[in-house]
Symmetry: C2
């Protein structure tokens, strides 16, 4: 153990002690937050296009796959698809619709993503919803330290925040890329951290065969299970971004092959910015997204029929003046909702995202994120990537935004909690007691309920102006700044079997000695 992790370990022990002293209510270490609970929608998702319009998009996607096709750069992938009935010419693969229909027939509509702590298992699909952290940002920021490239230390801080907040149910990719670790071994340290600092499900990047195999092994060891059980119980997921338009590269295809072979979860997510990597219309971008996602589906089912697959969407628009990606826009919302209609037409779990394109944790960051969450929630999103922390179109993971987003997610969770319309909730007894012109503050009905009657926000400051001004006119981002530090203080490292921890360390050490993974593709 190096001095860095020894210091952290000491800090963790102290946190655990402090946590136990302060543990009241729902939060580790006294942090006020909602308790851990499954999130489900109890009303049907919104449909903004008709069934006919949806068929139009579906048919257009099939036409694209049949007539234009996609470039699959990995020879092995092309061979497998050819054997399955695809038409292969050079790197171009064209898909007869029967291939798509067959794949839709074998892909499961529901499955479990297992965590090393079974309390944190996630049910994918249906009316379930799960939120993950921001992923893949090259930089991070906070109000004190400013904007900076990612480091292992900041990466670990984000992992701890993911573990602390109950509303974050999984770790996506690296919240911020720890670029101070050499790329050949980065995945080893990063995934060991993911497996040990948290006991929630996590992700491995499809960056070549070696990295994904290392990820599979780390996930298996962390769960303390053998390969057979591991294949039966999906315990890892990967996001495969197609190279829109209409291309899939070697590392991504190796990821699909390795993951699907092992019956682990593949989420194919085209990154289709309308006007840039996709047609400039929302419908066109959706046709292309759909074609690419279905091609990815065929790949997984060809490797292993029945392998778990998540339909991913990441369609938005660009600022046509500059080409910069735009998020949380009306176009984004429509694409997210129609993407949900498509995913449900295919009976597949649906992955979406909480996004924004702001540079500061200001009103823009907030409204773009809430508009995203509006589309995601009403559109039936199941797995929500980048749930907390995303800024600048994905270039930055912000600590303040992380806490703000957790507040937003908690509000969505509370919004989704069914309304109690039982006899006591109807409050007629209270209205009788209080009578016309009275006040409910002190009546029995209120006194019995007020301590947890309403959602207690993390951020919202509801003090009157004079009190607020006297407190220094704090804005939302200032409060968020205070809260992520409190949350880190509240972090408690989840227990891990000593033998498992040793096996993990031994695996990581061995692989490092072997040189890790290749660094050029």
């Amino acid at each position: 153990m190096n001095e860095h992790s020894a210091a952290e370990e000491a800090g963790s022990r102290q946190s655990r002690r402090r946590g136990r002293e302060h543990h009241r209510g729902a939060g580790a270490g006294g942090l006020q937050q909602l308790p851990r609970r499954a999130i489900t929608r109890n009303f049907p998702p919104t449909q903004i296009v008709s069934a006919d319009q949806l068929e139009t998009i579906h048919e257009a996607s099939l036409k694209v796959l049949e007539e234009i096709g996609m470039d699959f750069l990995l020879p092995e992938a092309r061979e497998r698809l050819k054997a399955a009935g695809a038409e292969v010419k050079g790197e171009r693969v064209r898909f007869p619709r029967q291939l798509v229909e067959t794949a839709l027939g074998t892909a499961p509509s529901r499955f479990t993503l297992h965590a090393r702590n079974p309390d944190n298992n996630l049910e994918m699909g249906g009316a379930h919803m799960q939120f993950g952290s921001v992923s893949s940002a090259p930089n991070c920021s906070d109000l004190d330290g400013g904007r900076r490239p990612g480091t292992h230390a900041d990466y670990r801080r984000f992992l701890k925040l993911c573990q602390v907040f109950n509303c974050i149910q999984f770790l996506g990719g690296y919240p911020v890329e720890p670029i101070d670790i050499h790329p050949s071994i980065r995945h080893l340290d990063a995934l060991r951290d993911a497996a040990t600092l948290l006991d929630k499900p996590f992700h491995a990047y499809s960056l070549g065969k070696e990295r994904i195999r290392d990820g599979l092994e780390i996930a298996r060891i962390a769960r303390g299970i053998n390969r057979q059980t591991f294949e039966r119980e999906p315990s890892l997921f990967t996001i495969v971004n197609t190279n829109s338009p209409l291309k899939l590269d070697n590392p991504m295809l190796q990821g699909i092959i390795e993951m699907s072979s092992a019956n682990q979860i593949v989420c194919v997510t085209p990154f289709t910015l309308a006007g840039a990597m996709a047609p400039v219309t929302v419908a066109g971008a959706l046709v292309q997204q759909n074609a690419e996602a279905l091609a990815g589906l065929v790949m997984t089912q060809t490797v292993r029929p029945g392998a778990p697959f998540i339909y991913g969407g990441f369609t938005s628009n660009v600022d046509m003046k500059s080409g910069a990606p735009a998020f949380g826009t009306p176009e984004y919302m429509k694409a997210v909702i129609v993407g949900g209609q498509l995913a449900r037409r295919y009976n597949l779990p649906y992955r979406t995202s909480n996004t924004c394109a702001a540079n500061a944790v200001d009103a823009q960051a907030a409204y773009e994120s809430v508009f995203s969450l509006w589309g995601v929630t009403m559109g039936g999103g199941n797995m929500v990537m980048h749930g907390a922390g995303w800024m600048e179109g994905g270039l930055v993971a912000s600590f303040e935004k992380f806490v703000l987003d957790c507040d937003l997610i908690q509000m969505v969770m509370e919004f989704l909690k069914p309304l109690d319309t039982g006899i006591d909730a109807l409050g007629i007894e209270a209205m009788n007691e209080v009578g016309p012109g009275g006040h409910f503050f002190g009546c029995a009905h209120t006194l019995a309920r007020y301590t947890n009657a309403f959602y207690a926000p993390l951020i919202s400051d509801w003090r009157n102006f004079q009190q607020w001004q006297a407190a220094g006119s704090p804005e939302a981002q200032h409060k968020a700044n205070r809260l992520w530090k409190e949350a880190l203080e509240a972090y408690e490292k989840p227990p891990m079997d000593a033998a498992i921890a040793e096996e993990l360390d031994a695996f990581v050490a061995r692989r490092k000695e072997e040189g890790g993974a290749p660094t050029d593709f």
Copy 2:
């Protein structure tokens, strides 16, 4: 004409000239904004409670009206209700359910709110949606002048902003209360301004018989019509807030009687903060809201069967620690959506609000407002009060928030615009041209569409971090500050028939000479 208005008139003439020089695209004076258009939902509103649960709430409301009843302070109102079959004992009125059923039978489900410019007429009910300005704030604020009590000058500035922005379709109450005008004549100056600085529909406060009669007359004169036509064509609306719980005072009841007698629009809006003026449960607050709104409905229909009525809801929660109102919360969202289910059960147009409880135009102001708009839009809100400018739970009308909210409203409008899934929009031709691995920036399909392919935001800054930082790291509220000033510059006073303007001035002058309206209730 006093020197104040002469200076403004000169400014207006200059603006008009400047406006004509700069008039391009959708905006007066070059202001970039969406064109004027009707807003309609093309998907059904969300239902978060079942039909059975809705009946439970409905039945509970009837029970409240039958058994507890409401205090109606105005003797004339009680007499009318008694004659209609209500049970009256002192100030307490109890409503047999038959009275409610009868009223529901005569109230119209759709009607037009006429403006003096028929292009600005509004269809109330159904799938239509309209946004109004903030109303009734005692203070206003902007980043330069800070927070201050309302004045006539600021009031007029807000009116001009309402006229400039196409997404604001009506003027609610006074965006900010012009307290430098004596209360006895304030309504005369304020409504003359409403009738002349804008050509959109406006509102009159139910603050006693004299004020509402003056409002009716100003609205009639401004439209240049006689009394008969005026009664046939509703041209004014009033928001009647019940004195929750379960009470209606003299000024509000006089308002109902005068307005309904003249066939003008009454929107009864209980102000039911759960835990304060209503039971501490959302369901209980809704039961009370519903009872009060239905009682108000009965009053209007008793005065004149068929008089236009809007079902209003303003249910939210309080911060139980302090009793301060909370807005844009999960509770608010649920109440707004169920309120919509109730209004549609009754086949009545539904009034809702865009709200927040923030002290600064920061992330909190933005997320609370977007959560409000989420509930309002998905809940089927028709008339949306306080659409733009509301801060601090209604205590402040903010110029920056006004512009921010207009951007949010425009995003909602764009979100509601049906998705084009026609053959060209599907973009297959573009995908063919670009091919796998290509780019859509320069292809024919994109070039033909890009200039207006996507919503152009007022506020969102999508520049990269370096550019944004070099520009001084501007935040959303700073941009909003610049934009409200540009919007004011773009203001063009709508034309008005000289004879009508004279008649208005003469009416106001005469009423002022008569002493205006009484100032104590």
